[in-house]
Subunit: 388 residues, 2 copies
């Protein structure tokens, strides 16, 4: 029987790569549900090709245009509650969550609570509410599979290994487009410069997060939850070539590393076929034609977002949700030209310091912390009277 997939965030970068994987193995994968945020035309084209039973459009303002008939599906869902309803009502084996930002939390929880395996490309839900997601996944006996290349690498390194024998996880970071630049020289960076990642072709939000190294900070928090390891067992190593996607060092001194091409189709496919591997007809890595692999310690002073994320993880409770909400708001303002690049970290730092964080992690406390973080960040950005 084919693996029935619900794909959330189908018109984004990860969504399109996931559909390329599905297109390659029509006898292995069946797309049963597609949800997009606001790209109605893209969703229409995808429905025409993959013929899912259900589709959802999250942006409510676009709802009138989107009918089951227009999309040629049996059922159409609207709004963010619609995405959640699609996940619950449609029969599927796996939900690939590739929506951007904290909006992915409720559909991810809905997937787990309806007993569906989750492949998580969207890191913000785990960052904001990792304790909640993982305890629900344990309760339901549902695996949460990583799609991020780093976490897929770690997951592959620990297959067949004992988790208590993990000594240190080494998350690799390319360093982003501004590696080895000093902070002063980064003041005039434009959104286009920040989105121009040296080794990965990704969506805009994650590219900016890579430029500030906030992305790596979020990945630390994500790794804590996915692999149930303490913060002090997760380190970051700068590896500008992005050929080693991450490493796990074991208690006996041995290190396993995962290497692969910088193409998200590889970790997406692994999450969809795990625990099996399926032959990939894509370009293979030839190490003998690659640049030398180098490694360096990250510089926390040039990239304060990395330190802020670790601070938030250390504080726990709602702090990571506030960090994430303030960061999403600040990155959006930066992309719209309303906030200079270097002030992204200032917005996040202020939010972490000044927004009250709940101790307990429930859906409601996290949603409140998220909203409070966004409110604070918006006001902070407006009041600062920022000029770019």
């Amino acid at each position: 029987m084919r693996t029935r997939i619900i794909l959330l965030g189908s018109t984004g970068s990860i969504g399109n790569s996931a559909l390329e994987v599905a297109r390659r193995y029509p006898d292995r994968f069946e797309i049963v549900g597609l949800a997009a945020c606001s790209n109605v035309e893209g969703l229409k084209r995808q429905c025409a090709e993959f013929r899912p039973r259900s589709a959802a459009i999250v942006d409510e303002t676009l709802a009138p245009d989107v009918t089951a008939r227009a999309l040629e599906v049996e059922k159409v869902y609207r709004g963010s509650e619609g995405a959640q309803a699609l996940v619950v009502e449609e029969e599927a084996d796996i939900v690939l969550a590739a929506m951007v930002g904290a909006a992915g939390l409720s559909p991810v929880l809905a997937a787990i609570r309806s007993g569906k395996r989750v492949a998580l490309a969207n890191k913000e839900p785990l960052v904001s509410a990792g304790a909640l997601i993982m305890s629900e996944a344990r309760r339901m006996g549902v695996p949460v599979l990583p799609v991020d290349s780093e976490h897929s690498a770690i997951f592959q390194c620990i297959q067949g290994q004992q988790s208590e024998e993990i000594y240190q996880i080494h998350l690799t970071a390319s360093g982003g487009p501004f590696y080895q630049r000093d902070r002063a020289s980064m003041s005039g960076i434009s959104p286009d410069e920040a989105a121009n990642h040296p080794t990965w072709d990704m969506g805009r939000k994650i590219s900016v997060d890579s430029a500030t190294l906030m992305n790596k900070g979020l990945e630390i928090i994500e790794a804590m939850w996915l692999f149930d390891v303490a913060l002090d067992k997760i380190g970051v190593v700068i590896h500008p070539q992005s050929i080693i996607h991450s490493m796990v060092e074991f208690t006996d001194g041995g290190i396993l590393a995962h290497l692969g091409p910088t193409d998200m189709k590889f970790p997406i496919q692994y999450a969809l076929t795990w625990p099996e591997r399926v032959r990939a007809p894509m370009a293979r890595l030839d190490l003998t034609t690659m640049p030398p692999l180098t490694f360096a310690k990250p510089d926390f002073s040039e990239f304060p977002c990395l330190r802020l994320a670790m601070d938030a993880a250390h504080r726990g409770g709602g702090a990571p949700a506030i960090l994430n909400a303030a960061n999403e708001t600040a990155v959006e303002a930066f992309c719209e030209g309303r906030l200079p690049f270097l002030q992204i970290s200032e917005v996040v730092e202020a939010a972490l310091d000044q927004v009250e964080s709940p101790h307990e992690v429930t859906f409601d406390t996290i949603m409140e912390a998220d909203a409070a973080g966004r409110r604070f960040a918006r006001t902070f950005i407006d009041q600062a009277g920022v000029r770019v």
Copy 2:
């Protein structure tokens, strides 16, 4: 209960490292038998420290000096048949075979046939008689665990993976002390130069084999048998830093690599504790202080031994045993100043071409092929009237 270890080749380089590992964990390991080739004084010291029940000295000419009383053991064995008898008669959980050369074959078979797990540091038995060893191991349900750093690396990379999902094994090679030298400049190489390995501190035979790259050729054959993969699925990549100890590429394009310090105690300990890992109090690898990791294709024309080993593997039957026997004889002549470095490969090539190889692999056919290979090589070296 402690793991009871019989150590064959206890006074050699691997033997000493194994005893360092055992010394570190007295509550985990018990040395119950020690066998040395000819170093009586060394064996005496080891017996005094580790108090095994049995000991063996393989060199028969030294037998008179070696009494149970002198070694303070309950039982002493003599000659190569003595080593085999020790393996059969002494109760143990694991036999660590670290003897040099094809002489290790009969004790390894004896260990397997008496149901004892084998940790194989001595590659020649698998090279000469891999079909026999592995079929006996399967029949007895006994694991054959690799100790070579490359094979330990591969073994660690495939834990929890499906063997049919192996696409290619990439054996890494430092390139030895003469990497990037052309063949003409190697004519006057002395045994001391050849034994001076750039990254590993090893015994003399294996160091010379590393300099000719025969060692890597033997490792290819060893990997075929240990991991049950076809010759064309095993490649060699030059990696001068010896930090990645080998890699396994899977069908889906993902590559797992094992990294670690260049210290044989790590793979020895892994073989002794597998499937567990035990905290190693040794220096850990810090990639950020290491040189860049580079990779290159091996040059078969400068290092003909690598091609010869692959030829022998391709021919099968007794060919690898003849290759190995001729190589052992040639390396010995080289170390004694009776054969120039570049002629090691000529001796091996002539033996492969001219010694008749049995098709069937049994203990007797392999012992005959081994003897014929040695006879041929000795005559070839003498008749060539070589001057160094």
